[in-house]
Symmetry: C2
Subunit: 435 residues, 2 copies
């Protein structure tokens, strides 16, 4: 016997078996419907791109997380590590074909060779959505509403979208005389949910001194009402601050829409990335806060500056599908995945193969999923297969039924048999039993 | 000004703009529904795998078409170049979790660094489906019926699935004393549709001699009826040949199902790959034969022999989504892609932003896609945007409408205005206009 190759998978990569993949497809399909309803267009970009396009010209010191290599034409190429950089490249390349404001969504895999501890994968799926063109409260709001609708559609009503404004934060940090430390303070606060309040205060004290740390901790503590939060901000950075005005406009619209309870004005939201310049947001699940944000994003003032001098401000968010699936599972919100047929057409007589397939086609034409057991075996074996697969109903037609011109339908859950049916009434009965 | 990076894409790779991506998603969604109806489960596998897993132990002489490299952990890895090899690895890895017969489908991108001439891409999408476990006429038939349903669902009713049997072909070639030349003859015939009958005869004469070439050309010529084709085969290789019996069984079932016109028993179908051992099939479009087969496959007697000693016979087929999309476009079968909203909620007064979004949400809740123009601009500018995006309707609410407590709905196709509506009646009117 020849040597076998072990059918192993790379660390951080995964197979998706039917049940899980059916769940993933169902999630993507629901999101696709939500995006369509809100006028967001789908796009796609290549998985592989020129390294300098993905990493910028300074891409010499390669990020270890990026899968980068020379292809057979000696081109320096890399697998995309997010959907934002390819989108920026896409906008610069197609700006003349895309009327602004441009709303897009993109659901696809990305790859990062990062540490696989703590449930991180090296291949994972993101769904990103953005509006590029206008810098307005209306565009910010549209993304917030879309995030809200996505969560609702996925059955995650018990979630709250926390939002803040980077401009306000920056002005506040500047008012403390800490401009040069803005990024450090930002990242410390961004980690607060993971490391806890005590550690955050300590880190802030090291970075900014005790008195400033105290003020910062006060500033990032959410007030019980928007009005109060906004008042505090106005006190700190002035009522004329653009960010404060933008937040006021958004809060007032959310009130108009009767959606206040789904959103929280939360100055502790900063997002770690330099990239953001306006509103920033994260989504937390009420019953599973520990999993962290399942949908995050913000406003940036220049999407594609690597590739074009044309300013392209925008606002967008990203859903981490793998984290979301983990949350749905942990919360027990998994809907039964339709990864199997509803009806197994059993096979008792090989010569009736055509009849079995005709029956299966009739079920399918009536919208009931069906499959034919592909060889004659004992009914017990076929029923056992159906149960393992989660197929609830079985159609039976042997010599006896053939002579009588009928079929039998068995509910494998209740073990109840419905005998002597015409094919049409078997289909009707199946539909009732499946309801 | 800093130097820009040209937003270029690798040769053989493509961006999908909204219209095209919406079409691709619509196709995948239709196929997903067909697979669900037939009890085929979705799976997914990693894009990146160990090179020896994808290429076998002899993977030393690297196939130039494969994107293969060392990752940051110095592992020898490669991007999948088809969905068959990963499926074989998947079956071997999960055989204990998957009850046989196992029906799966998998729609995903694959990568091959091949010559980009003649419309070939280096990144393209395939949809594969297989039944693993039984070796029976019923399983063969199930795949043929599924191919047929896929084509019908995609609006390609004018297509014919040609099928034959490799066992019959091999026995025929052996009967001519040409066993050692089987592969050569096979590949010559496989190319016949591309190179023409004359060239094929010449090549066959070189490979097998003039007399044998004459017999082969006769053998691969389809008869006008299944019965005649089967009779010829019986004459050539004997009625007891397993392949002839399998083909007879399949033909008789297709007759039973009243589907004879969608299928052609065609001995010129050989498929180039050594891999196949039983039925083989290709799908040709009646009005676009030149594009070649859009869905092909066959039966193999051992899927996963690289990874397990367990025999896993199966039958399956593969749809090339990119070729299919090209065909749909060339045949003018493209259905209008829903890549834009149905309603643009125009923005006249910034202070009404909340009202505009409430209106958009009401349309969405009623199943009508809507977007809000994100800043106050002249109506002409907003209408022009809608037309460029293909948005048919516009909702108008300015100061006048606000004072009267109404909205206006404009059909941008007919230029007709519907004024003085309540929001509810605007939604009703929109639904009627969109019908």
């Amino acid at each position: 016997m020849k040597d076998l190759i072990e059918p192993r998978v790379l660390k951080g990569f995964r197979d998706f078996l039917p049940e899980k993949e059916a769940q993933r497809l169902a999630i993507l399909r629901k999101l696709e419907d939500v995006f369509r309803l809100s006028g967001f267009s789908p796009i796609d970009t290549p998985a592989l791109e020129y390294s300098d396009v993905l990493l910028g010209k300074g891409g010499g010191e390669t990020d270890k997380q990026v899968y980068r290599f020379k292809d057979h034409g000696d081109r320096d190429v890399a697998l995309r590590f997010d959907l934002t950089v390819p989108f920026a490249r896409f906008m610069a390349a197609h700006i003349n074909e895309l009327p602004l404001p441009f709303r897009r969504w993109h659901g696809a895999k990305v790859w990062r060779g990062e540490n696989t501890q703590r449930g991180r994968y090296r291949e994972f799926m993101q769904v990103d959505f953005d509006i590029v063109g206008p810098d307005s409260a209306s565009a910010d709001l549209e993304v917030l509403l879309l995030m809200h609708r996505c969560m609702k559609t996925l059955g995650m009503e018990k979630s709250v979208i926390h939002f803040a404004h980077r401009g306000v934060f920056n002005a506040f940090v500047a008012s403390l005389g800490l401009e040069t430390k803005t990024v450090e303070v930002l990242r410390t606060i961004d980690k607060a949910r993971k490391v806890g309040q005590e550690k955050t205060r300590e880190d802030l004290e090291v970075a900014a001194g005790a008195e400033n740390a105290r003020k910062i901790v006060l500033f990032i503590h959410p007030e019980e009402s928007w009005k109060k939060s906004l008042d505090t901000m106005k006190e700190m950075v002035g009522a004329e601050n653009d960010g404060v005005q933008r937040l006021s406009a958004i809060c007032s619209c959310l009130d108009d829409l009767g959606l206040a309870s789904g959103f929280s004005l939360d100055p502790s939201i900063t997002r770690g990335l330099d990239y953001y310049t306006g509103v920033v947001f994260e989504t937390f699940l009420t019953d599973l806060a520990a999993i962290g944000s399942v949908c995050s994003g913000g406003r940036y003032n220049d999407l594609a500056s690597l590739y074009t001098h044309q300013k392209l401000p925008g606002v967008g968010a990203s859903i981490g599908i793998d984290r979301l699936m983990a949350a749905i599972e942990e919360l027990g919100l998994v809907s039964p995945a339709a990864s199997a047929s509803s009806v197994l057409v059993t096979c008792l007589e090989e010569r009736l193969t055509g009849t079995y397939h005709r029956a299966a086609e009739a079920f399918r034409d009536a919208g009931v999923s069906a499959e034919v057991y592909p060889e004659p075996k004992k009914l017990a074996v076929q029923f056992s297969y159906a149960e393992k697969r989660g197929i609830p109903l079985a159609l039976v037609k042997g010599e006896k039924e053939e002579n009588e011109g009928v079929v039998g339908l068995k509910d494998l859950r209740s073990r109840q048999s419905h005998d002597g049916l015409t094919l049409e009434s078997a289909i009707r009965t199946a539909k009732e039993l499946l309801r």
